[in-house]
Homo-oligomer: 131 residues x 3
């Protein structure tokens, strides 16, 4: 299953937990794993708190402090910071499925991380059955 | 299988290799993969050297230098640094299994990373059979 | 399948996409996932842009700025920076396979990340069939 996301800002973390949960439910897999994969090089995916929106805001701010948008980069497109952040967050995440449900913790949400938007993005969600 | 861990410090990396190895052995899977999943947002999991304990100490120190405990964060709970580190280390890791054994390298150990302890934590360990 | 890599520099990112693609093709798996696993603690693996070589150069430079080779580390071998970077990039990555092909994005390449070379390194590439 491919999710389509239209990001709105240069940098933002967009929660996609409900979309992934829907794919898992439709797959009808009792035991297995769901893999969320981002086929881009200036975006990533991570799992973090979905209670207070300031958490993901602090994550973006803190990444920008350490890996600034403007720095002594050589890459001609001027978005090296986004490539670095993509590798730090990672291009995939996975969540175990048991009893037909993702085993996310109480405060965990799955976030698509846009680091060089706004753009039209894709996210691949695949459910693999155990055994 | 769910491992229960009582962390003792605010920040620490606790080796769980032996526990994961036990789950793999009991699963009796010859070829496949083991997935270690942390259902928390201020803790993570990573694979690194288990020879000299100064390695994980240096990892924690270095993360704190770049992502300090106290900074200009907005999240009201005051543990934004822990959320950031959780995403940097990641909420899961996996190790291939061949011949019934995890294919960890000679110096590799699996570490639960506590960034906002001490707390009672859970770790999900699932073994998936190939084919 | 085990790839052998002789790294040439202290730090470098070596693209291994073609090698991984070959393993996937030979596995003859239509639907599944390929897992690339690095059994070392001073090297990692990541997915990023393979168009402009300045991208991976900027990634290495930026990591070195934040996690310098020489710092106030305690680990006696003097390569703590490499251990930290290994955990930041991660010891594994995975790519979904559909229709017998890795679902890499247009600009994505798989990179072995050497942080403490030159050395002889191994990379484990395993293809898991869905269902």
């Amino acid at each position: 299953m491919v999710l389509q996301i239209n990001t709105k800002k240069e940098q933002e973390m967009i929660e996609i937990t409900a979309d992934v949960r829907k794919v898992v439910a439709e797959a009808g897999v009792e035991e297995g794993v769901v893999v969320v994969y981002v086929p881009h090089t200036t975006a990533g995916v991570t799992i973090n708190e979905n209670g207070d929106p300031d958490v993901v805001r602090d994550i973006l701010t803190s990444l920008n402090k350490n890996f600034p948008v403007v720095d002594n980069y050589r890459h001609f497109e001027g978005n090296s910071h986004a490539h670095i952040k993509a590798s730090l967050m990672g291009s995939s995440c996975l969540v175990p499925i048991e009893g037909g449900r993702m085993q996310l913790g109480r405060w965990q949400g799955i976030y698509f991380c846009e680091f060089d938007g706004p753009r039209r993005r894709s996210v691949l969600v695949n459910v693999y059955r155990a055994k």
